[in-house]
């Protein structure tokens, strides 16, 4: 595409820079490239824009009609209302309850699942035992099986353990279903660490846990961050497990958000709905924009090899 420009370059160089600076002309191909990219960029970016603008307008302004217009009068009332007063049909204390539930689910789930997955990956790459590969294969196949088929047996297991409907139960479910992808991630990472390092430590008499904590952990900070990103966004965005394994008082934010927006009672307050939606999306969005390349690495590692 840039062909014509580069062809002319040697001649121009030989003559030395003279005359007015040449204007960058857009070739027809370039217009196509940038045009298409721009159209798609609008498709992806506009919903976020619409969401923000809507959440800052008052209802009278929204009823006037243009969802793309910036707010004439900025108001934060919808945000306050979404956080502390919005109704789900059962209670009217806003998203704050869902937020605190989500945090209480998120923190233990993430810590336990990353810890378990890192130990799994370490055992699978450095301390293989008979059958370890078989268990790993089952784990990987499990990641593709529709969760619905395992839901009811889990309900029974949790009920037997007295954990059905509790946050602890949901945390365990997240640990179980986060295991395949994160184990894979750690296994591949540890497999890339030179074997000599492991052997040297063995010769020095270090055992399973000593090698893990003293040698492997300090070396694998980046992969821990990647795994953390996968788990935080995955667990925060979960709807299925939250709706199946908890009750109304313990619903995570996504479930509560859905109940607020899709509740049939009363007049629809679109600005409050959009503020609530944004609030729920804020955690993963922040992680995405802050972590940047690591996020991409995380999903690529998970996706390409998974």
């Amino acid at each position: 595409m840039a062909n014509s420009d580069t062809m002319a370059a040697p001649a121009a160089l030989a003559a030395g820079p003279r005359g007015p600076k040449p204007k960058r002309r857009m070739s027809r191909g370039n217009i196509m490239v940038y045009g298409t990219l721009l159209v798609f960029a609008l498709y992806y970016a506009l919903p976020l824009y619409v969401m923000i603008v809507t959440s800052l307008k008052g209802m009278p302004e929204i009823r006037l009609g243009n969802i793309f217009a910036p707010p004439m009068e900025v108001t934060f009332e919808p945000w306050v209302k979404a956080w502390s007063q919005a109704c789900t049909g059962i209670n009217c204390d806003g998203l704050s309850r869902g937020f605190s539930n989500s945090v209480r689910i998120l923190i233990p789930s993430v810590i336990i699942s990353v810890a378990v997955a890192s130990v799994n990956g370490y055992a699978l790459s450095m301390w293989k035992f008979k059958g370890s590969e078989v268990f790993f294969a089952i784990l990987m196949i499990g990641a593709f099986i529709p969760y619905q088929i395992m839901l009811y047996p889990i309900v029974i297991l949790l009920r037997e353990a007295g954990l059905y409907g509790s946050l602890t139960g949901l945390v365990l479910v997240h640990v179980v279903f986060g295991m395949p992808i994160n184990t894979l991630l750690f296994r591949n990472y540890f497999a890339s660490i030179p074997e000599e390092l492991f052997k040297a430590a063995r010769v020095d008499g270090a055992g399973f846990w000593a090698i893990f904590f003293k040698i492997m952990l300090p070396m694998s900070l980046p992969i821990f961050v990647v795994s953390l990103i996968i788990q935080v966004t995955g667990i925060w965005n979960d709807f299925l497990f939250g709706a199946s394994f908890t009750g109304p008082d313990l619903y995570p934010m996504t479930v509560q958000l859905n109940n607020i927006v899709n509740s049939v009672q009363g007049v629809k307050e679109y600005n409050v709905n959009m503020a609530a939606t944004l609030l729920t999306g804020l955690v993963p969005l922040t992680i995405y924009f802050v972590s940047g390349k690591l996020f991409v690495r995380g999903i690529a590692a998970g996706a390409v090899k998974g």
């Binding site: 969802i67 499990g142 593709f144 529709p146 088929i149 179980v176 969005l285």
Partner: protein, 308 residues
């Protein structure tokens, strides 16, 4: 790793056998959560559900054998048939469009465009959001009275009509717009990584031979990226079968039955309708569809490697 392999050679000597269980003990203990998950939850849970799908379980699971009755009922239920049809429409469109859009965007970004980083950020951010958030955003944008339709009418296009969420024929496409918005970024990312892995010399050779850009992509680059396409296909495919949250948020399965999907059928019969047997049978059918997607892929990926 070689340490454990060494013990296998001593397999024939019976005296060493009791020792082998305790060999590598720490590793085995550490793997207990994984073994439990794999065997009890993944294998056990799946087998349990399949077994109980042949029983008359209603409010509670019970082992009263009824053979294929549940499946017969399932395939005679209009709701299930509509769900399958909806998923097929959504699935085929989503598969083709995700691949096309994902590849096109990746190829365009790979043309050394300015602001690649910013564009990539824009294309990928929806993937960080949940399906619930995605569904609710698009429910609002596609709102007929205040959303896109009214804006288009407001700027003078009076006859503009685009109200997919309230039209039983178009509702799956309304979901598709949202689904593509959320998911294409990921495929673009994978495709871009694939394109970056292709040797620059290929491009030079194509240029020397005077092959046009588009033709090079179709004839040379895409065939070279077969593994990337296969991975994308598997990812998109297994995602389509799981389609649930998006529908719940955006349309709740309506209008009427027109956006019902299999996963929703499972959830309503298991947790809403107290009709466990139907839920089990339907989720077994979901598993079957995933197997149909995965087995050819596994044969291609792993069967091929052994022969090659």
């Amino acid at each position: 790793m070689a340490l454990t392999d060494a013990t296998d050679t001593g397999q024939n000597i019976p005296v060493q056998k009791p020792k082998r269980l305790f060999k590598n003990l720490a590793s085995k203990i550490a793997a207990i959560p994984m073994v439990f998950t794999a065997l009890v939850i993944f294998v056990g849970g799946t087998v349990w559900t399949i077994v109980y799908s042949f029983t008359s379980s209603g409010l509670l699971p019970r082992l009263k054998w009824v053979g294929l009755d549940q499946y017969e009922r399932l395939w005679n239920s209009r709701k299930w048939l509509v769900s399958i049809e909806n998923l097929a429409i959504y699935g085929i469109c989503s598969l083709i469009l995700t691949l096309v859009i994902g590849f096109t965007l990746a190829a365009l970004l790979d043309r050394k465009v300015r602001g690649e980083g910013a564009l990539r950020t824009i294309f990928l951010y929806p993937f960080a959001l949940s399906f619930i958030v995605t569904g609710l955003i698009w429910q609002w944008i596609l709102n007929p009275e205040l959303g896109l339709q009214s804006v288009m009418r407001g700027i003078g296009w009076e006859s503009f009509a685009f109200d997919p969420l309230n039209n039983s024929k178009l509702v799956m496409f309304g979901l598709l717009i949202a689904g593509l918005w959320q998911g294409t970024g990921l495929i673009m990312c994978i495709m871009l990584a694939g394109l970056r892995g292709i040797d620059e010399d290929i491009w030079k050779a194509a240029r020397v031979d005077g092959i046009g850009t588009v033709k090079t992509y179709i004839r040379v680059i895409i065939p070279m990226m077969r593994p990337v396409f296969v991975t994308s296909l598997v990812l998109i495919g297994s995602g389509i079968v799981k389609l649930y949250d998006l529908v719940v948020a955006q349309t709740s399965g309506g209008p009427g039955l027109s956006s019902q999907v299999p996963a929703m059928y499972v959830m309503t019969s298991m947790f809403g309708g107290q009709n466990l047997g139907q839920g089990f049978a339907a989720s077994t059918m979901m598993l079957v569809s995933v197997v149909i997607i995965l087995v050819p892929w596994a044969i291609l990926e792993f069967g091929g490697k052994k022969r090659g």
